[in-house]
Symmetry: C2
């Protein structure tokens, strides 16, 4: 205990000293880091969104999963439970991120409070990431207004706004097992990879609604078994684990239509440098003033990019 406590004290002191040193550092383009507040709700309900944000932040910068509990004032216990649940999921999936819970407000004021208050000193979000609202045509008006106001809030608070869109949507609260159930009922070793798959599989096997007894897990062909034995569409599963899988030789298209500071380029470049995504190619679409200038402008862009991987300029 004594040794443990003093190690912990050391860690705390180290953290504090570093964030204190950071306070007086001027911000400039060379020390910019994408620090993301990602609106996941409980992170286990939107695994793909969490994975995507972490693809950018891993070993790089701060990631905070934001959970806005609308129109309700949380007691300390409720808030604490929500946070612990979120941290259990992050730990299970081996994601080094933080969680933040805002209550007693609507979506956009909650997000404004988070952007203003979360973090200390320079360790605070400068990007707001959210999922695309797939049901915008059918949802009620208030919910749509809140969504749009949240985007505006991001701009008003001077942070970048990133929206992730997957055709299948991002909310998996109905499909993914509760993290606590899994930890409680199936205390297997932590799965470093495909941990979301494990949660999926668990849900499909142990879901009380399905009334099927647990059977022995075929570990080797986990995903396959899951797909054969249960009626989860392949496209849904793929979209859930999209950002965990090794990507095939494919292309990331970047539409860089105005020189807006370069984040549109920076994020794909970071993603491209992850081992999962290293075989993908960047394809950058820029605007050109005319046919004659094409070659010159291309050279100009190239010299500006500092990309160390192959890329293609259209």
């Amino acid at each position: 205990m004594e040794v443990e406590s003093s190690t912990q004290a050391q860690t705390y002191r180290a953290a504090l000293t570093s964030i204190q040193q950071l306070v007086h550092i001027e911000e400039h383009v060379k020390n910019y880091r994408p620090q993301i507040l990602v609106l996941t709700g409980l992170p286990n309900t939107r695994p793909a969104l969490v994975d995507f944000a972490y693809l950018i932040c891993k070993n790089n910068s701060l990631m905070v999963c934001g959970n806005v509990v609308e129109q309700e004032r949380l007691t300390f216990e409720m808030r604490s439970n929500l946070q612990q649940k979120a941290y259990r999921y992050l730990r299970f999936t081996n994601i080094k991120g933080f969680c933040s819970v805002a209550d007693n407000s609507n979506l956009h004021t909650g997000v404004a409070a988070m952007l203003g208050l979360t973090g200390v000193g320079k360790v605070k979000p400068n990007i707001l990431m959210m999922g695309y609202k797939n049901d915008w045509l059918t949802c009620d008006r208030n919910s749509l207004d809140q969504y749009v106001l949240t985007i505006h809030t991001g701009f008003e608070m001077n942070v970048s706004v990133v929206i992730l869109r997957l055709k299948e949507g991002l909310d998996c609260s109905g499909i993914i097992a509760d993290i606590d159930d899994l930890i409680l009922k199936a205390p297997t070793k932590k799965a470093k990879e495909n941990s979301v798959c494990l949660l999926l599989q668990f849900k499909l096997k142990f879901d009380p609604l399905r009334k099927e007894g647990p059977r022995k897990t075929r570990r080797k062909r986990k995903t396959k078994t899951l797909l054969e034995g249960n009626q989860l569409p392949k496209s849904v599963l793929n979209s859930i684990i999209l950002f965990q899988r090794k990507q095939k030789k494919d292309t990331i298209d970047i539409w860089w239509l105005s020189d807006d500071g370069g984040l549109t380029l920076l994020l794909p470049v970071i993603i491209n440098r992850r081992s999962n995504w290293s075989e993908t190619k960047l394809r950058i679409f820029c605007t050109a003033s005319g046919v004659h200038e094409l070659e010159n402008e291309q050279k100009g862009y190239e010299s500006n990019f500092y990309l160390r991987k192959d890329y293609l300029i259209k």
Copy 2:
């Protein structure tokens, strides 16, 4: 620039790694640290309160100066200005703390948001410190309600509440010079000690309302000059720099009436270990069940205290 950037990057990474490591550490009595959210408004308006909080946090733990801007939604520029002003003051007075600005709410909801959202992971306030409301008998009802609700908010959010009372009050916004004026008009070397005095002196000399030309500063007898030349009551000055001065051989009285976790004892002990306060003695008042038990109970208390300094038990 290159070297600077990579040092900054190192510092950032160190900060991030440490706070990530802290997340999964269980809280227990041995790794408790008093991390304070102190309601100062702009920190230069309540220097004694800031000094008192820093007496506890210096080299120890997190200190965040909270500024709740009531009933107004701040633009990014306004918020940014408030924060920069606060950080300039902290830097000027050599205090390693952080600033947090909440807007668009009343006092207690702003404080609730700060307690819930400020910080990351385990680096977040667990004590709410505020000044005593000296005008509680004469202020308007709403303001008093807000004050009481803020205390309740602290308890509801499961943090400790500390209230600092000085006879002369804490708000010095009328007496202390604006930090920006001082830096702008009198670019002297930073005064490591008595920097608040310098601000006071500056205000008295350069205040446009007084219409006096600046004269040469008599550096040696700063405080004296100030007191002789201007009609600032000595008691007011003393209360402003109370927690910066070296304390005489004096006594800190602690009324430890219930075994409430020990914070009532911890804070004075920390204060007592600061060089300024090292000559003061702790005097602890405890309850006893009866005259006969007095000696036994005293021994019991003594063995529990682990105090390394002299103390007196009544």
